[in-house]
Symmetry: D2
Subunit: 306 residues, 4 copies
């Protein structure tokens, strides 16, 4: 395969303080499909995803990111990644198959910025996923924000260079964009395992183990606008948008789930290839880098994290 | 790298019967940048491509496809592909570096359906490509059809299964969609080497070595509509569109260059991953497969090729 | 008021052969709101309309247009229109208030091409219409084809010049566009009573009292595309589209209701002012006039009418 | 005519401090056509307007609004307006034909909030206006922000009720939306003379004779986004956007010309009819009224005026 190794961010497990309220948000506002509910867990899926679920909500005392899961193309590739992680001194643990419904064995590790990452190769296909025999564009008209898929997370921590290095060296991710301070230290690193402009982003922050946002793909700038209409009409807590990123060129809107976890709906962004030059930003241009139109970043965007 | 092996369709070399007229079409209608002209050759590039050129026009007696070039990630990968091609009985030839301005060595072979394919690893970067230091979304406002990149070709021939097999077995392409006749014979095979829904398509046809269309990416359905406005206002020869494909879900318009080569502007299409099921079409649904809205294919689309 | 006299096409009454099936189409496919059902009549409304209803479906043996209703700004204006109609020899009848639920008195007349036209000044406001106190963009996310309003009808008949003359001379409509055959006879006349490119269209046809289509407004080219997706996915009978008109410049898709009445979803079109020149088309350019992209008209479009 | 009396805002005359620089902005950024230059005056026109010019720039010491011109349907209507203005105690002056190139006689008056208003019935047609014989959608691909027309102005002053009353009582404008403070005083009044959601807006402000913004129409939300891309890439001074208004529902971006005059590009907004209820806003909801997404207004928007 020309796309190999890590395929994509396959699921995100988010802590929410009121599971019922969170289900309403992710199902009715984002427009995800409710797949199953199991005690303190809820499992959801976007209409254009084949796998059983991509969003896991867990009832908890505090919001935040439990786990970010990446699907790997094969057990052989997974074994190789484990070997390389261990060789880099990254300890891995096994999560048994069935820990999540429909999901196979997962290999778990933590990055220096404190986030928990799972690698896995198996998840049941949804029986309501995209059609494959003489398929229609969708089974039913998309609703809510018309999310097509869970796309990526941006996470925060102190030593983002060390976390990014693990994704680069052990997992074959490629840096697409990077922002550097005058001393040469990275303040933001965007990495991809595909043709997407980013599959994970590390942002320098004051504390580790933090989630900046979980991001969901929509089809177009038009659907970003529609998401904004819904956010306004339903009094969802807006962070910023509609706007465009300098980094990735994605068209975007940020808002909060009822527990305060930041969500993003975004569209566009360029196609990346590993022979493309890295795009580099200087900190004096971080406003433009983050919000291409406004050219400045508001405090909430840099200070609110879960 | 998680994207490895063959990166993408890197250039297409098209035969045109009046080079001057063809340059006007590809530069002013499609909105490509004219890079250089060298005797019977012209080299052009879309604004969002890093490499020096992606479209080569050659003055010739007849229209058609000279060569479809695929960029490979490394010399090691290229050597491996050559070995595997040769092992499959596919003869390869070397084209020396510099045969095209700014281009490295190319390895050339032909597929059973008669098309000539080049593999290569090196091409100079354009000095007018996408910005990489605190980049803007583009250097100058896109014009014409606002093409962002050369995307793929669809080619015709008799034994498309044999051609597709070479891309699968020797070059690690993955079949994304396939249309099958009642006897189980493929009438259309779509393959990708990336997250795109297709990087090359083989269509069953009565003659070999034929081009169905060269396809160019635009950002959105809105830009497909704008391309149609230009086609109408400038009296460019329309084939069909705006419409949507069932296969790939791309939004599309087809038209002809002044020599009769079919061009496509398209947007959208899903992101493909190698763990996704193949989408399969039956020939009784080929109308829907090809033109999702019309659900039927007009004669010109199946009979005109170059 | 600067907009005075006839305000707009206020309702259309369409004959359908299966009321239940028709309700499903207009409510779920077009996305209209079901207002009330009363025997052989059903009343519906688009989400962005203030008046109680704008679409009336009547169970009948044959499809077609029962009545096209125009709302008039005041009783004084209505009385003046009646006087002028009568002076032109056009007989008017009164329909008592309450004949339609929530509707006031209507004045009815027929045009030489056989269509029945109602003029009226009063209709109850919907209690679910657009918000007026600190309003949101809509009360609920639009669904189906996301129709914002009933927009206009195009009707067919022999002596379209005579029908258009009544709208011009008695009702103060203005001709915006006109297509003329080599003998100077009109083959299509588009008239407006507002800033819209058309509020009614007369098309020359072999028979009188015919409906070509009832047209519904959507917000954008994007929503025209969405309507096409729905048409394809739900196997609604497509006529043609997505495409653009030369006349009015509207972006459009045509399809049929279950009884064979042609519907249109359209977006865009210019703003018209009475000091603008008339736009004129010659019959050799009727292809471009009707379908700006295709530049030709298919038989079904000119031969199928109800 | 059903659209009668005042037709539309026909031209705006704006003071600029560097005419050359201003021409570059309005011509290349907004994408207007340069019509003529005459000493301290420059005349421009949007591609979809029939009249000779709609934007007049005047070299001056200070930025701001010189005159807002409204085209009237007939001399009889103009004479009636003058009579009614004078009866209301509004003094009118005559500007002779030819004072602006290609323009007829204008009647000038001032409103209590200090703005100068011209009424006129005659202006030469542009020889490069929209085509009228078998017309294309445009003569040449729109460029820059792809402005289709000058649309309206919002102006500031102390006694906006008095100014609005003149437009209502003497000129037959209709109030479409209104924001009221707890004492019942209007803080914003939007009026239309057409089917547009507004043709002029009065905003309560601390000083008279002020311009809040001159607004230009674009086709779609997509073109609002494109305008934002241009604003960012060309370092045009952004005020706010892309966003949506609660009032009018228009999709919008605000920015400044080189002299500090605020410009708006906007799309959408509902169609208004004089039988529609007035939409009313309370001051506690002014954030939502003005910026539907952000639900708050930044200081610059309320304090910067010219």
């Amino acid at each position: 395969m020309a796309v190999t190794g890590v395929l994509r961010p396959g699921f995100v497990q988010i802590r929410v303080m009121d599971l019922k309220e969170a289900i309403v948000h992710y199902r009715d506002n984002l427009g995800l499909e409710m797949v199953s509910k199991d005690g303190e867990f809820a499992f959801l899926r976007a209409y254009d995803e084949f796998d059983r679920h991509s969003v896991v909500l867990r009832q908890a005392e505090e919001p935040g990111l439990d786990v970010l899961g990446f699907k790997v193309i094969s057990d052989a590739a997974l074994a190789d990644f484990v070997k390389r992680l261990n060789e880099m001194g990254v300890k891995t643990d096994d999560i048994a198959a069935g820990d999540h419904p429909g999901a196979g064995r997962r290999v778990r590790f933590s990055v220096p910025t404190g986030q928990v990452i799972d690698l896995y190769t198996e998840m049941e296909l949804s029986d309501n996923g995209p059609m494959t025999k003489n398929p229609d564009v969708w089974r039913e008209e998309p609703r809510g924000m018309r999310i097509t898929r869970f796309d990526h997370c941006a996470v925060l921590g102190v030593n983002i260079a060390a976390s990014a290095e693990i994704f680069e060296k052990a997992l074959d991710f490629v840096v697409t964009e990077r922002a550097i301070d005058p001393d040469g230290n990275p303040v933001a690193i965007f990495l991809t395992c595909s043709n997407k402009a980013h599959d994970i982003a590390f942002l320098a922050g004051p504390a580790d183990a933090k989630l900046h946002h979980a991001s969901f793909l929509v089809e177009s700038w038009n659907d970003v606008g529609h998401a904004c209409d819904l956010i306004a009409q339903r009094n969802i807590s807006l962070d910023i948008g509609p706007t465009r990123h300098g980094i990735t060129r994605g068209q975007t809107v940020y808002f909060f789930d009822p527990s305060g976890n930041r969500n993003e709906c975004f569209a566009g962004g360029y196609q990346h290839y590993p022979d493309n030059p890295i795009r580099e930003w200087t900190v004096d241009q971080m406003g433009k880098a983050i919000f291409y139109y406004e050219k400045e970043v508001h405090d909430r965007f840099t200070s609110v994290m879960t």
